[in-house]
């Protein structure tokens, strides 16, 4: 298990010391959310109504942008093959890398979301639920995204293909994330139900993602 934590720590350190990736994702998130009022008009009532959807969709796109980096650098310098042949089961190695992606990208994006909510006039009662759902939902983005990143690892210009493969898989996360927020602002369903289902989806992808990603990597590094 110590190999797992070492790998996680290494990936996080690389993210911090290389810089760039996290900042780019955050900047992209900011710019996309800023584009929305410019495209839809500055009507605050309208913005307040669509704010949860805009925040979630922009978050998905920002996270998508950084997905290829989960395995790319390690594949280029050959360390992915070393990891694949090492003692640590590849399933756990991919889990560590996806977890590092969540900590380095998912959490910062989830923390930025309420700030951007101010720009969109999001209702005050929605903020705690917004942050909670994003914390509960972003693991699914990283772990399902790892599958897409592994599948398109050696595909030239794989980024577009990655989006096509992964975005349909994000639909349940998106739906229940928004269902929970709209419930908090007076929607018909309960916050708790949507939140629990969202967490269940994240737990499910926590199991499915690393296994599928490991299989895809094993086929390519053989």
């Amino acid at each position: 298990m110590s190999a797992f934590w070492t790998l996680l720590k290494r990936d996080l350190l690389l993210q911090v010391r290389e810089g760039g990736a996290v900042g780019t994702a955050l900047g992209f998130y900011l710019v996309v959310v800023t584009m929305m009022p410019l495209g839809l008009g500055p009507d605050l009532n309208l913005l307040s109504r669509i704010a949860p959807g805009v925040l979630w969709i922009a978050l998905l796109l920002s996270a998508l942008l950084s997905l290829p980096r989960i395995f790319e650098a390690d594949d280029e310098d050959g360390s992915l093959e070393v990891i694949a042949t090492g003692d640590l089961p590849l399933e756990l190695a991919t889990a560590a890398k996806a977890l590092a992606h969540w900590i380095s990208t998912g959490i910062p994006l989830a923390l930025l979301a309420p700030v951007l909510g101010l720009l969109l006039n999001l209702e005050l009662s929605a903020y705690p639920v917004l942050v909670a759902t994003m914390f509960a939902g972003t693991p699914a983005i990283s772990f399902l995204g790892a599958v897409g990143a592994a599948l398109t690892l050696r595909v030239r210009r794989g980024g577009l293909l990655l989006a096509l493969l992964v975005l349909p898989l994000y639909i349940p996360t998106l739906i229940f994330g928004i269902a929970a927020i709209s419930a908090a602002t007076g929607g018909p369903s309960g916050v708790q139900a949507s939140f629990l289902i969202l967490s269940a989806i994240s737990l499910f992808s926590l199991v499915l993602g690393p296994v599928a990603a490991a299989a895809a990597i094993r086929f390519q590094t053989q």
């Binding site: 399902l144 599958v147 599948l151 398109t152 050696r154 595909v155 030239r156 794989g158 293909l161 096509l164 493969l165 975005l167 349909p168 898989l169 639909i171 349940p172 739906i175 229940f176 269902a179 709209s182 929607g187 018909p188 369903s189 289902i197 989806i201 499910f204 499915l208 599928a212 299989a215 895809a216 086929f219 390519q220």
Partner: protein, 262 residues
Amino acid sequence: MTPSDVTSQQSLTQRLANPTRFMQLSGTLMPWLAGAAAALILYALYLAFFVAPEDYQQGQTVKIMFIHVPAAWLAMMGYALIAISSFGYLVFRHPLADVSAKAAAPIGAAFTFLALATGSLWGKPMWGTYWVWDARLTSMLILLFLYFGLIALRSAVEDEALAGKLCAVLGLVGVTILPIIKFSVDWWNTLHQPASVIRMDGPTIHPDLLWPLLVSAIGFSLLFFALHAKGMRNEILRRRLRSLTIAEVDRARGASAAAAAG
């Protein structure tokens, strides 16, 4: 053990693992399959246009159902077939499973598109719009995206053997998440609008409409299997041709190297 003893001990799927035997069997079955599909579809169309009564609410547009419902059903069956083939390829290394998964993807995508297109043509007179964000329509659209993803991944990876394995992984991931997507889309729809818009299953209960629908469903299923078998045959031939070409190039290269050495 004689070869025939070995053959008799194998299950059908094991025996079909031999591409030559598959080619023989599918070659013999093909005309019957295609003929039966054509006959049943023509009969279903005859029933639909001349025998089946109009629906008292939907009028003539109910006849779209005879193509729409089988297409929607086959769209889902196509993905199930891909999932089973992917499993067979990854777990049992069945050599034809990958061929089957590859052949099924475009056919399944075509039927999904057909279901969506006929549905929206029916929707225009019935609902007054070509597209409604209803749960069923949305999940069919997402199914189409999953098909597109499989086709795109296969065409993006150059190494054919690797492409097959990666597509098998994607196919299995897709089929695992598909029920969750379906469930979440159903939830999403009922959250926003009452589920009273569509009563597609209303008229199907009447036997006068059910019978042509069943004939049509069987006919289109046979069409699916005929197309699938044809696609598999084409793929096997294409792979043979490819390996023959590679062998030819190797031989020519060896000959030229020998000539240069001599």
